[in-house]
């Protein structure tokens, strides 16, 4: 009975691809989002979409075990939205940040793995601030500041929701 599961996963991804926080909402391409989820949580993870406040949170599981949560966010760089994914493990530690769509001519360095890697293992108790525990990239300051603030906000939300049982 794997056949019905696929459409469900696809549906969940499609829903989550239209993120929350509508002011700057930009769609994430479903294929890109699916690839990111697969990379972070392994192939065949079950994806459910949970609605919390106005946000869409992806719940990732395999069998009875929770793999973690993820949320798509948007921040404005110089003039375009930057669409990114924040994934956490069941202990509310940040697994990784993925840049799903970068639309600006400068500052694309935030998508580079060596920069994103700095977020791994962070918790809501960490400062997650440029110049403190996150290093900047010259010439990409605006995007670095925007994405860092966006990751900090989403990690704080996911952690708070998880701890009060709004997502589980």
């Amino acid at each position: 009975m794997t056949a019905p599961r696929l459409p469900v996963a696809a549906l969940a991804l499609l829903l989550a691809a239209f993120p929350s926080r509508a002011a700057t909402a930009q769609a994430a391409p479903p294929a890109k989002l699916a690839a990111s989820i697969r990379r972070l949580f392994g192939p065949g993870a079950r994806v459910d979409t949970l609605r919390v406040d106005s946000a869409a949170v992806l719940r990732l599981s395999r069998g009875d075990s929770l793999l973690g949560f993820a949320e798509v966010g948007n921040v404005i760089g110089k003039d375009q939205p930057i669409t990114f994914l924040v994934a956490v493990d069941p202990a509310d530690r940040l697994k990784d940040v993925d840049i799903l769509v970068y639309r600006e001519p400068y500052g694309g360095e935030v998508a580079y793995e060596p920069w994103r890697r700095q977020f791994r293992g962070k918790t809501a108790a960490d400062p997650i601030a440029v110049g403190r525990d996150i290093r900047s990239i010259s010439g990409a300051t605006i995007s670095v500041q925007a994405v860092t603030a966006g990751v900090r906000r989403i990690l704080a939300d996911l952690t708070a929701w998880h701890q009060r049982g709004a997502i589980r």
Binding site: P7, L11, L14, D79, E109, P114, R135, T141, Q145
Partner: protein, 369 residues
């Protein structure tokens, strides 16, 4: 049940995925106080730059971006100073992260300041003098090109443009190729020129290499009719590094004006055949030990520039040692936010001939958004 919901979503999808057209306004600017003459005489205040950034996104691929600048607050006929100019105006067509096609008035991607010139991004009230006399910022020309990241090499980006060339007629001994720029104003396309850059980024680190190559003769009967007649070759390397509250940056450049002799003969100048130099700068965020939790910054910095616009001169031209400049700047940059800054610095303007040396006190504020 699921298929029905899915199909509903699929029907809605195109509307959701259609890119939103949007117009963005931004800007940057700086106001300076300069005292070149010591405490016994008045200084000067100037609204050095006021720049409006205007961009429009047409769809997922196509965007327009521009910067319109007013220099020195106003411009009045018959009075010196003041300028209204477009610094950038181009269309970007994004094919992928590896390739965006760009056409219009673009910034040659040379050095650090030419592309990243917003006042909160650099220390010192004025841009480094090197970025005026050697790399002629803000350098902009009209052309077409490509920008993107290099596939399979994390952190490596490129830009490559074909733009209108420089005009040798404007070259000078003091400011090298600076007044050879055409800046998008009825520019001659007699000498299409190539310019480009490779840069590599890591957290805290960026290193880059840039070049410009092109003729400058503008079909002058003496200098030559060819596309690459009276060529100028510029190569430059730069690095920026940040670690634990310390910032370093440095740029070097070398410009060869291989037909300087003919250019000097034609226009009666004393343009160097080689223009070369660079600077190094170190800065430390004093708030890091004092207020580690603060997002504000207070940088103390020192910069040393050495450059010579007559590093070599053609046969028959006497070298002017006052053009071998040595400029030391020490100062503070206070940044309440990453995109606002209050600056102060003291400059020692020296040269090899020890002629016309000066000390300059400057204060300034800058912003970008």
């Amino acid at each position: 049940m699921v298929p029905r919901r899915l199909s509903l979503i699929v029907v809605c999808l195109p509307a959701f995925l259609a890119a939103q057209e949007r117009t963005t306004v931004g800007g940057y600017g700086e106001i300076h106080y300069t005292n070149r003459s010591g405490p016994n005489s008045p200084g000067q205040v100037n609204l050095t730059r006021f720049v409006l950034y205007l961009a429009h996104t047409f769809d997922d691929r196509l965007a327009f971006r521009s910067e319109l600048e007013v220099e020195d607050a106003k411009l009045e006929s018959g009075e010196p100073g003041g300028e209204v100019a477009l610094e950038q105006a181009y269309l970007d067509y994004r094919l992928s992260e590896y390739l965006t096609l760009r056409s219009g008035l673009v910034l040659p991607p040379v050095g650090i300041i030419n592309e990243t010139h917003e006042p909160p991004t650099f220390n010192g009230v004025d841009r480094p003098a090197f970025d005026r006399d050697v790399i002629p910022t803000t350098w902009r020309e009209i052309g077409v090109g490509a920008v993107g990241s290099v596939p399979a090499v994390a952190g490596l980006g490129y830009r490559l443009y074909l733009v209108n060339g420089l005009k040798a007629e404007g070259f000078s001994a003091e400011q090298g190729i600076r007044e050879g720029r055409q800046e998008g104003k009825e520019a001659s396309f007699a000498n299409p020129s190539l310019t480009g850059r490779l840069e590599w980024a890591r957290p805290g680190l960026k290193v880059g290499g840039s070049f410009w190559y092109g003729g400058t003769a503008n079909q002058d009967s003496v200098l030559g009719k060819g596309t690459f007649a009276a060529p100028v070759t510029l190569v430059s390397a730069d690095a920026r590094y940040e670690v634990g509250g310390i910032m370093f940056r440095g740029v070097v450049a070398r410009i060869s004006v291989s037909d300087a002799q003919a250019i000097d003969a034609r226009y009666g100048g004393t343009v160097g055949s080689r223009i070369a130099g660079g600077y190094v700068e170190a800065a430390y965020n004093l708030l890091r030990p004092l207020a580690p939790a603060s997002s504000q910054r207070l940088y103390a910095f020192v910069r040393h520039e050495r450059y010579d616009t007559q590093a070599s001169v053609p046969v028959g031209i006497a070298k002017n040692d006052s053009l071998a400049r040595r400029i030391t700047t020490i100062g503070l940059s206070y940044k309440p936010t990453y995109n606002t800054v209050f600056k102060g610095d003291y400059q020692l303007l020296r040269n090899k001939a020890r002629v016309g040396e000066a000390e300059v006190l400057s204060l300034g504020l800058g912003y970008q958004f």
